[in-house]
């Protein structure tokens, strides 16, 4: 450390024992707040933070400006005249085809899609992970390996086969079908998380429960589930974000009455004619991202803990 104050060698007079022991530095090593190390550390962090915050700043600022002000240029300058009109428009009056009720319509659809999809996908993946961690059967590893490789398959490739499967099941176009799709695509990474997490729990706990006479489901519900909170939070965050932000499946596998908010966002943002209403776009973007953002802000701390518990032990 550059700011070390070297002990004065002259102070070590070999003849004066008591004086000797009193001399020299004592107490806490002085560490000025503005030590070069701190300046560099916090400097770098703040610089990085600016890079990460800039887009959000731009989004917010732009969404509060009127179109004339935006056309003047500088996207970084704060709004001269704050207007909430873009927000109102994005939320309630922007048109999609004939329906001019903005994002508000899609919001409830998104909620209707996200909640059951998140719940079902996590429920299934957690049971899978549990079975893989504690009740391994022959071939389980093979299926799991296929599943993990599946995480790398581009979604687009799978659309057609899934359309066919859902058609054959008669579920195409229904909410159930969409939930199944989200469950399928969430499965690899969630199963991996849960499997790793349950593997990291002491196996003896599982054995003890078996000796106590608990079966597969009893152990899952009574023993494993209550212990899996951190990883459930991670899974929940991942799924809520993923499903809420999904556009492709929401539109390919459902009908218009279920279209999620992202479809309206896409419509607002990609309107082909007229001038691009950047302020409305940005307001719509923030509104659409609000739910996952909120989830992150609230549970970010648990997220890191859960990641530590489930992901890195791979």
């Amino acid at each position: 450390m550059a700011d070390t104050i070297a002990p004065n060698p002259n102070a070590l007079d070999p003849n004066a024992s008591s004086a000797r022991l009193a001399a020299g530095p004592r107490g806490k090593k002085p560490r000025p707040v503005l030590a070069p190390r701190n300046i560099m550390l916090y400097g770098a962090l703040i610089f990085a933070a600016i890079y990460y915050l800039l887009p959000l700043y731009v989004m917010v600022v732009t969404s509060l400006k009127g179109m004339p002000e935006i056309r003047l240029g500088n996207i970084f300058s704060p709004p001269v005249e704050i207007t909430f009109e873009p927000w109102v428009k994005a939320w309630s009056t922007a048109c999609t085809g004939l329906n001019c009720d903005g994002l508000s319509r899609g919001f409830w659809n998104s909620v209707r899609i996200t909640i059951p999809s998140t719940v079902v996908s996590i429920a299934i993946a957690s049971v899978n992970g549990y079975a893989l961690a504690n009740w391994r059967f022959k071939g389980a590893d093979l299926f799991f390996t296929i599943l993990i490789v599946g995480a790398f398959i581009p979604y687009q490739v799978m659309i057609y086969p899934i359309v066919i499967v859902l058609r054959e099941l008669g579920l195409y176009g229904s909410l159930t079908g969409l939930i199944i799709v989200h469950t399928i695509f969430g499965m690899p990474i969630l199963t991996l998380l849960f499997r790793n997490y349950f593997t990291s729990l002491p196996e003896e706990l599982f054995k003890a429960a078996r000796v106590d006479g608990a079966g597969f489901w009893m152990i899952y519900f009574k023993i494993m589930l209550p212990m899996a909170l951190p990883i459930f939070v991670v899974a929940m965050i991942l799924q809520i974000t993923g499903i809420w932000n999904d556009f492709l499946f929401g539109v390919v596998f459902t009908r218009p009455e279920y279209y999620p908010m992202t479809v309206q966002l896409n419509n607002i943002v990609n309107s082909v004619q007229g001038v691009k209403e950047y302020n409305v776009n940005m307001a719509a973007t923030i509104l659409t991202g609000a739910v996952p953002l909120f989830v992150y802000f609230v549970s970010g701390r648990l997220f890191v803990r859960g990641i530590a518990a489930g992901a890195v032990k791979g």
């Binding site: 002491p202 003896e204 706990l205 054995k207 003890a208 429960a209 078996r210 000796v211 106590d212 006479g213 608990a214 009893m218 009574k222 023993i223 209550p226 212990m227």
Partner: protein, 363 residues
């Protein structure tokens, strides 16, 4: 033949290509305290898990209370099990931990309460019943873990190194408690450990295991005093038995073990059969079976120099050099020898062991 509580017949178990247990047989009598002793990885836990039904056997049969339970579920075997890491359910209170199994078995609430109360009383954990495991000390946790086996009201208790996560002091306390528990409950206990002190103090019989094979199965004193082979001799006893590799030679009509020119008479050794002159042997002498006395004289007295002294309070352990080898001798704690002090040793050959150098079996 007395009734056997647990019998294992021709048990084999493999994990894939690795065979951990091979054709193992063992019988545990009713009310017996059997300790499975062996170093890490020798298959003790595996055997215990097979008996508990937590691992599917590859080959063989398991009987508990004369009933073939080879393919029974753990809960139907009439066993209780205690684990090294306690394995308490962290989100339940102590009472919840104790009653979980009973609730699963749908016992009437009154019966559950009765059993929990009884176990809590036996283990003196009544004041803890409302706490969560995280609010307990290590020893208390282990007691709750034992309680969980206790409430199951079973005939056979299985312990998998229940004390090895505790510190030395607690370990010796709980050891006594387990012993007392066994004396009062009188049910069969199978206890896995790699701590020989635990094995010696607790067991009615000890099964010393190595590489999935039982090396010797006998009561503690037999194992300590007349180990069946070199492995058992070396494994039991701390500090270890001193081993001297040598040859049987005739000197003046007496058979002696000649170790690097030092002769140790085997006259007083109770051999199982004749000991052939010229055979290569290993002589084993425990540290406490060597007398240290500067004054003794005679043919069977040997000179040595103290290398290191380890005072342990009640005892004092001397490390000496004899016949070019390091050996340890245990003497009373009050007798001190500085390193470098010359001493005279005499061996208590009646309590020594002699093993064939090739088969490693006791002669």
């Amino acid at each position: 033949m007395t009734s056997n509580s647990v019998s294992v017949r021709d048990l084999s178990l493999s994990f894939g290509a690795v065979t951990v247990l091979d054709n193992l047989n063992i019988d545990v009598a009713d009310g017996e305290f059997l300790v499975l002793l062996g170093s890490s990885g020798c298959g003790k836990s595996t055997l215990l898990n097979c008996i508990a039904g937590l691992l599917d056997v590859t080959e063989g049969q398991i009987f508990i209370k004369e009933k073939n339970v080879t393919w029974e579920e753990p809960k139907d075997r009439g066993i209780g099990m205690v684990f090294q890491s306690y394995a308490l359910y962290p989100q339940m209170t102590v009472a919840g931990n104790l009653s979980f199994g009973l609730k699963v078995a749908k016992l009437p609430q009154a019966e559950i309460d009765k059993r929990v109360a009884r176990a809590a009383e036996i283990l003196q954990i009544q004041p803890l019943l409302k706490r969560k495991p995280s609010e307990l000390s290590g020893g208390q946790r282990q007691r709750v873990a034992i309680g969980r086996a206790l409430v199951r009201d079973v005939d056979v208790f299985l312990f998998d190194e229940p004390l090895s996560n505790l510190d030395a002091k607690l370990r010796s306390e709980l050891r006594v408690e387990i012993k007392r528990l066994h004396q009062s409950l009188k049910n069969t206990m199978i206890y896995v450990t790699h701590d020989q002190i635990e094995a010696l103090t607790l067991a009615d019989r000890i099964a010393v295991m190595k590489g999935g094979v039982i090396q010797q199965l006998a009561d503690p004193m037999t194992i300590y005093n007349t180990p069946e082979n070199l492995f058992v001799a070396g494994f039991i006893g701390s500090p270890s038995m001193n081993f001297f590799r040598g040859e049987i030679v005739e000197r003046d009509g007496r058979k002696v073990v000649s170790v690097n020119g030092v002769d140790l008479s085997v006259d007083s050794y109770k051999a199982r059969g004749p000991i052939e002159t010229g055979s290569q042997v290993v002589l084993g002498v425990r540290p406490e079976h060597v007398q240290v006395d500067e004054a003794s004289t005679g043919t069977d007295v040997h000179d040595a120099v103290v290398d290191i002294e380890e005072p342990m309070g009640a005892d004092n352990l001397l490390w000496l050099k004899l016949a070019g080898q390091t050996m340890s001798v245990r003497i009373a704690g009050a007798r001190r020898y500085a390193p470098g002090t010359p001493v005279r040793l005499s061996f208590d050959m009646g309590l020594a062991s002699i093993f064939d150098a090739t088969t490693e079996n006791r002669l």
